[in-house]
Symmetry: C2
Subunit: 587 residues, 2 copies
């Protein structure tokens, strides 16, 4: 039975939705694929649901090929398991919480590690039951602070989440690899370019994690890669630590007046003017040690100041800092913080004071923790604050004149930084997350008591992986990548229909002929959307066809009386005539 | 790729779950189809999900045949639309409610009339866009007071809910009929016997409603039907009202002493002993007028007493009373209620007092509303309470001696009662609701402002229907109907697999031969579950096969060396030999 526009649920819109920030959102709403219900929450209209189902079918297929079996959990789950693992607290405001009529606490699950763990614990008890990989395609909820960009970051989204269960580390490696391979096949079938990068495991915990990023300048994630094959999410990038140097023979540090040096550059200029280097090389920003005061707020609300010392040509990258301090929140210290800590001489903060007493760092007088960038190795010399108003110090040597209380990866990453694996300089790029695989290890199994008997009858804790693909996000990215100024252009693998047949004019015989073509196309296995609207102008019909973006369009007009129709390729825009009885073959 | 039990996610259980009240729940848990997460909330394991998907596919197919298009709404929705229609309050504790991080109120949708109405309002504005039927298959949430019977009444459940939109009453009739016809086809394909009964529209509002009930003695709904074709849910049954009779010439009412008449029967016995009828017929319970005091609590908490007068051979049916007083809650009055109303002489309540003053009914002295059963028509004579301790009255005539403040359908329905359409006596039976179709009319469209321009350019309010099938409930009912003491016996249309192949023994060549049979069966289009577990006894394997209930079982044992396997029909229990190369044909 043909799907006819005269009774299909579809209304294309001439105007962009006022809240659309990105192309995919704008076009998916205008072309009648989705409709907003609340911030970050959408209804799926018939066209959108068809595309979503096709993506899900590809994901299902490759999950089956990876040996994973499908299950399905509710979105509404008891809060207890999330309390046991700590995520009930860790998720903060990002989790939707509610009580039932008896006052029992529930959550709308943001992800399902806990209940998958408990399900396997509930049913399995022996190593013989493992390995096991199970997955679901399910609607998840996260109360994002700023839901935005349409489906790219919603508060409800459809996700494929898979979980693997093994009792050996080698087993976990194999399960992880099987999912990783499936992800590569899925993205290839979807025509989505991807980069696999080392990632931070974040709130998930666990030992190893990789992200699949689609590289695009408009991506919200930054990643780095080297020509030698290193790739990492910028949050997971680790600094290549230089070798320590001997400090013997280095001159003693000297304090100098440095008024009017509000920036690193003014400080460097002053240094070059007043203390030129013996070898004639100019001082540069990287020769200074910048001391940045951060406020670190734990989930329980306690706020701690931390000073981070890093080369002056770096800035704090708050996302990297948040990973370093997770699950705490990190921000720059404010005026109140400084007022409470008069020992911090704003603009002139350093680890050391004249006379050699530590102001920051081990046993420092301020009591504030002082963490160092990994590049500040023993024996390096620095121009830095002297903890006195309008004074800095030259030649302060790490390890000799000051030590930190530890190391921290909080500085930004720059093009040209060396990859930690020695594979050469990295460059940064932008990407959108399209998949994430985690070796969770035993974190969840330990917290929830998932153990099995091994070959020797000994109880061992299970080791797990978790593997996520954002189905609705991928749909939005495909829309983001495949469009022009006329509308969407779906790749055949996920198009809502294979062919879009447009009948034009007012001649009923044309519509009858078009319907026969639709039936022939359907008989040949095509999914067809038939624009049979009798009183709509060809211009409007063609505009809708372009906006909706079915890859192949067949125009049936008066020429059909002579056995001729027009075949239109949405992507190339090519239009050519075809004989009616050759249309099926032509497509 | 064969689905092998060695890596499938399945664990059959020997013990019944402790909370299982019904067979379907017990077997679906034991056979590894579902697993409880919280009261009335279940996870779907691979076998269960397959059965559920098959039911959904049949529903989808018939929705398409009925011209309905699929959409999908979130479960999490803003509360405002439900406030506008009043259902936010009407649902009482039955609705899950929550706030987001900004304090904005949301609900987990129990059903989606409001947002479907708004969606159509959002996109459509002309009669030319109608009729429209759209549906979804979606997980719904209701905070049932007593979730029970496994999937039969859960707090989360999957439902197909369709909505039709028309601008004429005739259009609504046609849309309603199309869904009703689709339901008949769906239940026929699922092999589910059904009765279509008139139903009460309940909290949905609207003008006409029918329920599809599966007749079964364990059903939780009572319905009535006549041989002449009348069928109604007991809540929707209406009494055939007898004609009024002349009261001229009837003797005056007389009061008599009636101590020790705590029950209707003792009162009838006393009447027969002390006041025998002139014609010699004995007084029966139906000659007495029983006055029952009900407490009716509105949603805002106000509690009102109401007295219902009905023939003494009837009892109050609280479900029918709740329909009569909806959305209020109804219960029997308690001691406190009586204490507050000393005008009600417990055990001797009647509408009338000696001397002719009305105690109940129009301008009665108690101020309490007095409603009458429809059978208490003018001219009927009654034995009833005299509103004096230990006194009753004979020959009290309705219309002459007392009137009510209105009529109410609160009495129970009994076998032999006449059908309201004159089609003869009804009988009561039990059934389970499997579908419900509503003509909502303009209630939702009016509340939410859904209007379209008609042919004359005039704005008209749209008229709607809503049509629900409980997918997970149907699955449970099918399981409830198709089982024996060994386990489940799925009908082929919804079985998780078509064939279950069991390899027995320890001979690897048997397993290899079995695998080839599995591949041949799959190549012939069968879905096959392969029990390839090498170290499990045949007895356990056969027990699992019976418990899981795939309709056809193939046993591959040592005989395969001679080219013979066994084919086992799960339902009949018949086992017969078949040649290996004839297995595909044999099935």
């Amino acid at each position: 039975m043909p799907t006819r526009l005269t009774n299909y649920f579809l209304k294309t819109l001439r105007e962009d939705p006022s809240d659309a920030e990105v192309t995919s959102h704008r076009l998916l709403v205008r072309a009648g694929y989705i409709r907003r219900q609340a911030p970050g929450i959408f209804a799926w209209l018939p066209l959108g649901l068809r595309v979503k189902s096709k993506i899900e079918a590809i994901v299902r297929d490759e999950m089956t090929n990876a040996g994973a079996h499908e299950v399905h959990f509710p979105a509404l789950l008891p809060k207890e398991p999330y309390e046991v693992t700590g995520r009930y607290v860790d998720y903060g405001d990002g989790m939707f919480r509610l009580n039932d009529r008896r006052g029992v606490g529930y959550v709308l699950a943001p992800t399902h590690e806990e209940v998958f763990t408990l399900l396997v614990k509930d049913l399995y008890s022996s190593y013989k039951d493992l390995p096991l990989s199970i997955y679901q395609i399910q609607d998840k909820y996260r109360d994002e602070a700023r839901p935005r960009a349409g489906l790219l970051r919603g508060r409800e989204f459809t996700m494929k989440d898979a979980y693997s269960f093994d009792y050996t580390d080698a087993g976990l490696d194999a399960s992880y690899q099987a999912q990783r391979d499936a992800y590569e096949r899925i993205f290839t079938r979807l025509g989505l370019e991807y980069v696999i990068v080392k990632a931070d495991a974040g709130a998930m915990g666990g030992s190893k994690s990789e992200e699949f990023l689609h590289p695009t300048p408009v991506g919200e994630d930054t990643f780095v890669r080297s020509a030698g094959g290193y790739a990492a999410n910028v949050e997971a990038f680790t600094t290549l630590v230089p070798d320590a140097r001997p400090s013997e023979g280095l001159p003693a540090a000297t304090v100098f007046d440095s008024p009017h040096t509000p920036t690193i550059q003014t400080l460097v200029d002053l240094a070059n003017a007043e203390q030129p280097r013996d070898d004639g090389r100019a001082w540069v920003a990287g020769d200074t040690l910048k001391n940045v005061v951060l406020a670190v707020t734990q989930l329980d609300g306690t706020r701690e100041l931390v000073v981070v010392g890093m080369p002056g040509d770096r800035d704090v990258d708050l996302k990297r800092a948040e990973v370093a301090f997770q699950p705490a929140e990190v921000e720059a210290a404010n005026e109140d913080d400084f007022a409470l800590h008069p020992g911090l001489v704003k603009g002139y903060i350093g680890p050391w004071s004249e006379g050699g007493a530590a102001v920051l760092g081990e046993k420092g007088s301020t009591g504030i923790r002082y963490l160092l960038d990994p590049r500040v190795v023993d024996g390096t010399e620095w121009i830095t604050g002297a903890n006195l108003h309008e004074k800095h110090v030259f030649g302060l040597v790490a390890g000799r004149d000051f030590v930190g209380d530890g190391w921290v990866e909080a500085a930004n990453v720059k093009d040209g930084d060396p990859a930690p694996d020695g594979s050469g300089p990295i460059e940064t790029a932008r990407g959108m997350e399209i998949g994430h695989v985690f070796q969770l290890g035993r974190k969840y199994a330990e917290a929830l008591g998932l153990k099995v008997l091994d070959e020797n009858g000994k109880l061992v804790t299970v080791t797990m992986g978790s593997y996520g693909i954002g189905v609705t996000r991928i749909l939005a990215i495909i829309a983001e990548l495949n469009n022009d100024d006329k509308g969407l252009i779906w790749p055949a693998a996920v198009a809502p229909f294979d062919v879009y047949v447009v009948a034009t004019g007012r001649d009923e015989t044309v519509y009858a002929a078009a319907e026969q073509i639709v039936l022939d196309l359907e008989a040949a296995g095509n999914e067809v959307l038939f624009d049979d609207r009798p009183k709509v102008s060809p211009g409007v019909k063609f505009g809708d066809a372009e906006l909706i973006g079915v890859p192949k369009i067949v125009i049936v007009g008066r020429g059909v009386a002579d056995g001729v129709v027009e075949v239109w390729d949405r992507k190339s825009g090519d239009r050519s005539e075809a004989a009616v009885d050759a249309v099926v073959a032509a497509l």
